[in-house]
């Protein structure tokens, strides 16, 4: 009766009949084949870790003292079905278990006066978020920059069971409305906390 190594590779014992050698051979080769193939799959998965990036260009109005969730039009990269603009044009959804880096770059038009701009990365309830704030520019110094830029960055864990929806929420307190302009939003898995890469 053949035995197995701890990882399941079968091998014959001294007491096994020599007439079955070809069968033992095939079983061993197949077991090694399965193990190496699993190993190879995990290596490939480590290189193609889930990531996505969405973008938008068209103006999106940002009225004073109002939370506005950025909308996305382009799907620049998505190797894990993390973006589905037809279903929701504000989300990147994390489904694969692991730790993710999430960030955005948002350009805003300017308006007169001194005011604040805030970009918040929001995650599904209970998972916190990331916030960056900066002072808007009255743009009286020069014809450029025509935009103010803000780049929030955060990390979030997805347990692989409950999807994590990520959004970018903007707010400002100028006297007038400004526009959200060039913008992009991305998420990339940087590790698993358990079980591997």
């Amino acid at each position: 009766m053949p035995a197995n190594t701890p990882r399941g590779i079968s091998y014959p014992l001294y007491t096994d009949p020599i007439a079955n050698t070809q069968i033992y051979f095939q079983d061993m080769a197949t077991d090694i084949d399965t193990l190496v193939d699993q190993f190879s799959d995990r290596l490939i998965a480590a290189g193609t870790r889930p990531a996505a990036k969405a973008s938008g260009i068209a103006n999106q109005a940002l009225a004073p003292l109002t939370n506005v969730t950025c909308t996305w039009v382009g799907e620049d990269f998505d190797n894990d079905n993390m973006i589905d603009l037809a279903v929701n044009n504000t989300f990147i959804t994390l489904t694969d278990q692991g730790f993710y880096m999430v960030g955005a770059s948002v350009g805003l038009s300017n308006t007169a006066g001194t005011y604040g701009v805030r970009a918040t990365l929001t995650f599904s309830a209970g998972l916190g978020g990331g916030i960056q704030t900066l002072r808007g520019s009255s743009n009286t110094l020069d014809p450029s920059p025509t935009q103010t830029y803000i780049n929030p960055l955060s990390m979030v864990y997805c347990d692989g069971i409950t999807p994590v929806n990520c959004t970018v929420v903007m707010r400002q307190n100028a006297a007038a409305s400004i526009n959200i302009q060039d913008r992009n939003f991305w998420a990339a898995k940087v590790s698993n906390l358990m079980g591997g890469f």
Binding site: T21, Q22, M28, I32, D37, F39, K53, G107, S144, K189
Partner: protein, 192 residues
């Protein structure tokens, strides 16, 4: 002679003649070759880092200048062509691994009187990200640094490039100023 379904390892089927040592050698060599291919695929994460070295870069009246890098400090995992180091200084770089890449650029500049703001951007075929900094009204804090981080997809050899662009006001009337330490780091986040 049969072969396994996934990796093609050879084994004797029941009708094969008994050649235990030969068949063991064939299996061992097939596994050895296959494992080596997998082992060789485990490489350092593709990453590159370029810096200004000891050189400063002049910034004229503008409006913008592509940041120039004199030294390629790091180029691992096939991030850039091996010849890149010999082509320095460079302002643009072509990541060779198709996929999603992250970048961080940093520029150090002196306390320029009369400057109201500075901007540092990352560009590929299109804008990636920008940071702006409003300068302090007086020159109390010496040299300053601005950084920007962004993420973009790159298609690989012969494809899109990345560059950092610096800008400061007042455009057209500003004197020539130097940029000191500067760096651009790129790292692969996910392959296609």
């Amino acid at each position: 002679m049969g072969v396994t379904p996934n990796r093609g390892y050879p084994y004797p089927d029941p009708t094969s003649p008994m050649r235990i040592t030969t068949d063991l050698q064939a299996l061992a060599e097939a596994v050895d070759t296959d494992i080596k291919v997998e082992q060789d695929s485990i490489i350092q994460r593709p990453i590159f880092r370029a810096s200004g070295g000891g050189d400063r870069q002049e910034y004229g009246p503008g409006p913008t200048v592509d940041v120039s890098y004199a030294v390629l400090e790091q180029n691992s995992g096939g991030a850039l062509a091996a010849s890149t180091a010999s082509l320095m200084p460079q302002t643009t770089f072509t990541p060779l691994i198709p996929g999603l890449w992250g970048f961080t650029a940093t520029v150090e500049y002196p306390q320029w009187l009369g400057i109201g703001w500075v901007k540092l951007s990352l560009y590929s075929n299109f804008w990636i990200a920008s940071s702006i900094a409003t300068e302090m009204p007086n020159n109390v804090d010496g040299n300053r640094t601005i950084s920007v981080t962004g993420v973009n997809h790159f298609s690989g050899p012969g494809g899109n490039t990345v560059r950092a662009v610096f800008e400061a006001n007042p455009i057209g009337t500003r004197a020539v100023f130097p940029m000191f330490s500067r760096s651009l780091t790129g790292f692969l986040l996910a392959r296609d």
